[in-house]
């Protein structure tokens, strides 16, 4: 199963309680996926520098944090640093042309870079969205848009790294949440690896993020990339892809996985089921619609 949710506030610079919306909507879909939960939050973009989210899978958190900071200082410099349990949030001056994530992981064992972006921050862990919020205080986050996921694992391990959202590493600010199963994952992964891309996990959903990022990098529009994905991805999928500019979504040709969108003049809300939308947006004027088979949609700032 898995549950996916998204929120997008329309208009340049428009922001809202993205963290609270995503946690509440995700938690409503808990029974669609109780294994793990996560969110990709997009704050107001930094004019200078990048936000880095690092997960420290180590008992000696202080030492691990120290190693990460030392590593970063060699290629970039840290402007801000804060940590809540094992999630380290940093603001750095540069992502070293996309090499920063690898650089950190090679030098600080147990550190995993979940996201780097001008505005994107990925936080995820085992348990329900509520549990993850208690650990990392997601509700307080204000931002322009974001996507969330609650996972029932069918592919790959149940651990924090294999939880959604997935960052399209090393492309800043691109993330994906996916409900379904990509059956030509190995073929697509090989093809993308031959183009020089690398994968951080063994999860099939990560391939969607890299696939879209690769196309955007080659100058394609989000619309073109989403449409191409319907043809190139085999299997079942309803997914949300988020960039610094906004959110896109697509559904497979058999319409196997549910996905609803509802919008008004101020915002767009996305979810697997209406029960999730209604928890946060009870206004009957906001009417959810089911995405049709092969349909794509996107909203950009």
């Amino acid at each position: 199963m898995c549950g996916i949710v998204g929120i997008f506030y329309k208009g340049e610079g428009k922001a809202g309680p993205v963290g609270q919306v995503l946690v509440d909507m995700c938690y409503q879909l808990f029974r669609r996926g109780p294994d793990s939960a996560g969110v990709a939050l997009y704050g107001l973009p930094l004019e200078d520098g990048f936000v880095v989210r690092v997960d420290l899978e180590r008992p000696d958190l202080d030492a691990a944090e120290g190693e990460v900071l030392v590593a970063i200082d060699e290629v970039s410099s840290v402007k801000e640093a804060s940590r809540r349990t094992r999630s380290l949030r940093l603001v750095v001056t540069t992502d070293a042309d996309g090499k920063l994530a690898d650089w950190i992981e090679e030098r600080a064992p147990g550190a995993r870079v979940f996201s780097i972006g001008r505005s994107m921050e990925i936080v995820k862990d085992l348990g329900a969205a509520d549990d993850v919020d208690h650990l990392y205080d997601l509700r307080g986050f204000r931002g322009t848009h974001g996507i969330g996921h609650t996972r029932m694992a069918t592919e790959s391990r149940v651990d924090t790294a294999h939880s959604h959202p997935f960052w399209a590493r090393p492309f800043p600010d691109i993330s994906v949440v996916h409900n379904g199963h990509i059956t030509n994952y190995h073929k697509l992964k090989r093809r993308l690896e031959m183009k020089g891309h690398r994968f951080a996990t063994g999860n099939d959903s990560e391939v969607i993020a890299i696939y879209i990022a690769d196309r955007l990098q080659n100058g394609e529009s989000l619309d073109d990339a989403l449409r191409a994905s319907i043809e190139d991805l085999d299997g079942t999928f309803a997914y949300l892809i988020s960039t610094a500019q906004g959110v896109g979504l697509a559904r497979d040709q058999f319409a196997t996985k549910p996905l609803l969108y509802a919008e008004n003049e101020e915002l767009v809300v996305l979810a697997s089921e209406e029960i999730s939308i209604r928890k946060v947006f009870p206004d009957p004027g906001l009417v959810p619609r089911e995405l049709q088979a092969k349909e794509v949609r996107w909203w950009l700032k």
Binding site: P258, L260, E273, E274, S276, P282, P284, V287, A293
Partner: protein, 238 residues
């Protein structure tokens, strides 16, 4: 706890579990309620299911979730809002009206009664219908009427790809355009009886059947028996 007053009762779903709400509905019916209003359903799943009562009307003042009004025998369910996947699944008899949009698998496997959707439906509306009537005021999604076995489906809007794929029997009427009929789904000539049926079926919902140019789809029956002479047909059907 809600009480029955002059045959009517109200149930508020707020801060309550689905099982608790359904039990309350059954209890009220047992105490003689004929008209039950349910407020704040907020998209909860599996509401008003497995009810065997012919003369009870239950109105939801808001959207219901998946598998709403399923496996019922008799009641009249009205939803003032959307409904999720599997609406009225396996309905034996009765009537379900949704004044909104419905997800995938609307009226799946119904054997009797009527299901009315004011708006659009997702994929596979009327899948494996074994009787009854499904009326959709808007459009239906991919593979609607798939493996239909009996009954009728009336779509006032458009139908997406694969309409009536591998249907055995039953009839589908489409007022708008059909993106592509499914395997062995064939257009048939409209008869006078079809016109009467459509008029009678649609008029209770304020829809004028004569304002549409309906296309009638039925099984071509070429998939009823395996034939080596038509390998192409079987290749796409399977």
């Amino acid at each position: 706890m809600a009480e029955v007053m002059a045959g009517a009762a109200t149930v508020d779903c707020r801060d309550r579990e689905t099982r608790d709400i359904n039990r309350e509905i059954k209890r009220l019916i047992g105490e003689g309620a004929k008209e039950i209003r349910v407020s704040n359903p907020a998209g909860r799943h599996a509401l008003a299911v497995a009810l065997k009562v012919p003369d009870v009307r239950i109105e939801f003042d808001g959207p219901v979730g998946w598998y709403g009004a399923g496996m019922n025998f008799g009641p009249h369910i009205v939803v003032k809002g959307n409904a999720g996947w599997g609406l009225a699944e396996c309905q034996m008899d009765g009537r379900v009206e949704v004044h909104g949009h419905v997800g995938s698998g609307a009226a799946a496997s119904i054997r009797g009664g009527l299901v009315y959707v004011e708006g659009d439906t997702g994929a596979r509306a009327g899948i494996a219908m074994k009787g009854g009537v499904l009326v959709v005021g808007g459009s239906v999604g991919y593979m609607s009427g798939f493996m239909m076995q009996r009954g009728a489906m009336v779509v006032c809007g458009d139908a997406a790809d694969g309409l009536g794929d591998s249907m055995y029997e039953g009839t589908i009427y489409v007022g708008g355009t059909i993106a592509a009929p499914g395997a062995d789904a064939e257009e048939k000539e409209m008869t006078e009886d079809d016109g009467v049926f459509l008029k009678e079926t649609l008029s209770p919902f304020g829809i004028d059947a004569s304002s549409f140019d309906f296309t009638k789809i039925e099984s071509g029956r070429r998939l009823w028996n395996f034939s080596t002479k038509e390998p192409e047909l079987w290749k796409t059907a399977l």
